[in-house]
Amino acid sequence: MAKRRERIDRPIKVLSEDIYALESVSRMIYVAAPSVFPILFLLLLPLFTPSLYMQRVLILTAVYALLALSWDFIAVATGLVSLGQALFFGVGAYSAAILNLHFGLPPMVTLVVSTLGGAAIATALVAPCLPLRGIYFAMTTLVYPLLLARAIEATAVLGGTDGLVGIASFPNVWVERYLVLVFVLGATFALRRLLRTDFGLVMRSISDNDQAVRASAINITVYKLIAVYLASALGCFAGAYFTHLYMFVGLSAFSLDLSILPIACAVIGGMGTLVGPVLGAFILVPLAEMVRDLGTLRIVFYSLLLVALVLFKPEGLMNFLHRKYQQIERWVQV
């Protein structure tokens, strides 16, 4: 006899969009748990990672999480696939270095200025590419970081191939550890919130059907610019943070890894969910670090994992977990 799996939504009475009928404490926990536990876990994590190496892996993870979030936000809000997260990172990284070395601004100030100002520069660079579609946009964004790196190399400005050293570090180790984690949490929460407003709904509609949005008297270029600005602010923050963490900035700030790995994180975690790419970073980046000793073989390992996940859970982990959590599955006779 044939059987089929039936999925039923768990019975939560929805009164309005975000007020739930909370009938009991257990139900309240059920609703709150998926966001509260990961947040607590993240915030406690630095307290239980004693070695400097582990701290650095955690920070690297958070930095990639920001880039993955940035990538995903551009995809959700504009429908464009960016291959140039390294542009944002590099612009932020070099801005922070210049502001600190040449203008003597302290790290907390350069962080703010290079996040907001760097994002403006990066957005101005990307703006001419915004009318492009699909592969053309992807290609131009891929080229930008390479171009800037080669320009710095060839002209030997900004330290050339040697990079810039002697940049101030963070005031203390706790600021250093928590700053980026809090920023990841805050940014994820804020962007999710934004996408739920009417403004965010218009953004999401652009990726669905830009022609229909234009026919609705809405200037999509403005929305795309805002989306790119927000996404590049995340990348610039990550870059500026990294500069102060290592007290150094070099051409590696434009490296291809910074553009590619975030996409892998987003694919594994679940594209379009914002939280998924962050989750993906927390799986992929530590894993990539663990197998670093394998040398070139790690690429093989790492690619196999990616292929496996894409093949077996193409929806991404986040959508998968969400479904498992929200629905009861049972087998029924057909």
Binding site: T197, D198, F199, L201, V202, R204, S205, D208, N209, Q211, A212, V213, R214, A215, S216, A217, I218, N219, I220
Partner: protein, 253 residues
């Protein structure tokens, strides 16, 4: 006979070629405020191109479009729809992932509507959207307005296209084969709505292949062939026109 002088919406000597194909060939006519103007013609005669040029999706090679005496040729689509010239698409273009009523938040969020409504908070627009859907025939108390657009049958998607236009509080609605793919009874149920729009003073320009229904609505019909206007007149005159019968209507009437 139809030298209507007006400065409402004027199409003037429009030409547009795609490679060697002349999609529009010095096409010109006025649209009178408040009328229902039908546009008919064989497949490939340039009807959609005309709609695209008027609404700013395609730039003409030459010629002009004027609205209320102002040149609008070459303005981007968002500007033209912002002036109150709304359109539907020949292939429906809903926002698939959004519930039907949330589709209307997009036009309601445009500055044309936001400035008219004096702001309006997040959430207020939902009520307006549900009213609009009811107006185009979504059953208010059913689940239909809340279903994702991707799950709606074709008939509802056509209505949703109309609702997206209405959300802009348009002066002109240009429909591109609104009735195609609908059953006779579905078209029948849309007719009273179209009548109501006309009574409200909205100018309608309807590109249609469904002649029987179009001829009930339209006061004037333009027949296109290879980007040119080959005939123009009230429906009865079009039906009687010998040239039109030969090239176009032949089998159908």
């Amino acid at each position: 006979m139809f030298e209507v002088t007006t400065d409402f919406l004027v199409v003037d000597e429009l030409s547009k070629s795609f490679g060697g194909v002349k999609a529009l060939d010095r096409l010109g006519f006025p649209v009178v405020q408040g009328e229902v103007l039908g546009i008919i013609g064989l497949n490939g005669s340039g009807k959609t191109t005309l709609v695209n040029v008027i609404t700013g999706f395609i730039r003409p090679d030459s010629g002009h479009v004027r609205f209320r005496g102002k040149e609008i040729t070459g303005l981007p689509p968002e500007k033209i729809s912002g002036l109150g010239i709304a359109r539907t698409f020949q292939t429906v273009r809903p926002f698939h992932h959004l519930p039907a009523f949330k589709n209307l938040i997009v036009p309601l969020y445009s500055s044309r509507i936001r400035s008219a409504a004096g702001g309006g908070r997040w959430g207020d627009r939902d009520a307006v959207a549900l009213d609009l859907l009811e107006e185009v025939g979504f059953e208010r108390d059913s689940a239909v307005p809340y279903k994702p657009a991707a799950a709606l049958p074709h008939g509802y998607l056509r209505r949703l296209e109309l609702a997206r236009c209405l959300a802009l509080r348009p002066e002109v609605i240009i429909t591109d084969e609104l009735f195609s793919g609908l059953s006779s009874s579905e078209v029948g149920s849309l007719m009273p709505l179209m009548e109501r729009l006309r009574e409200r003073g909205i100018t309608l320009m309807m590109v249609e292949h469904r002649l029987r229904e179009l001829f009930q609505l339209a006061g004037r019909v333009i027949v296109m062939e290879q980007g040119r206007k080959i005939a123009e007149g009230p429906p009865q005159a079009i039906v009687a026109d010998k040239a039109v019968r030969e090239t176009y209507l032949g089998a159908e009437l």
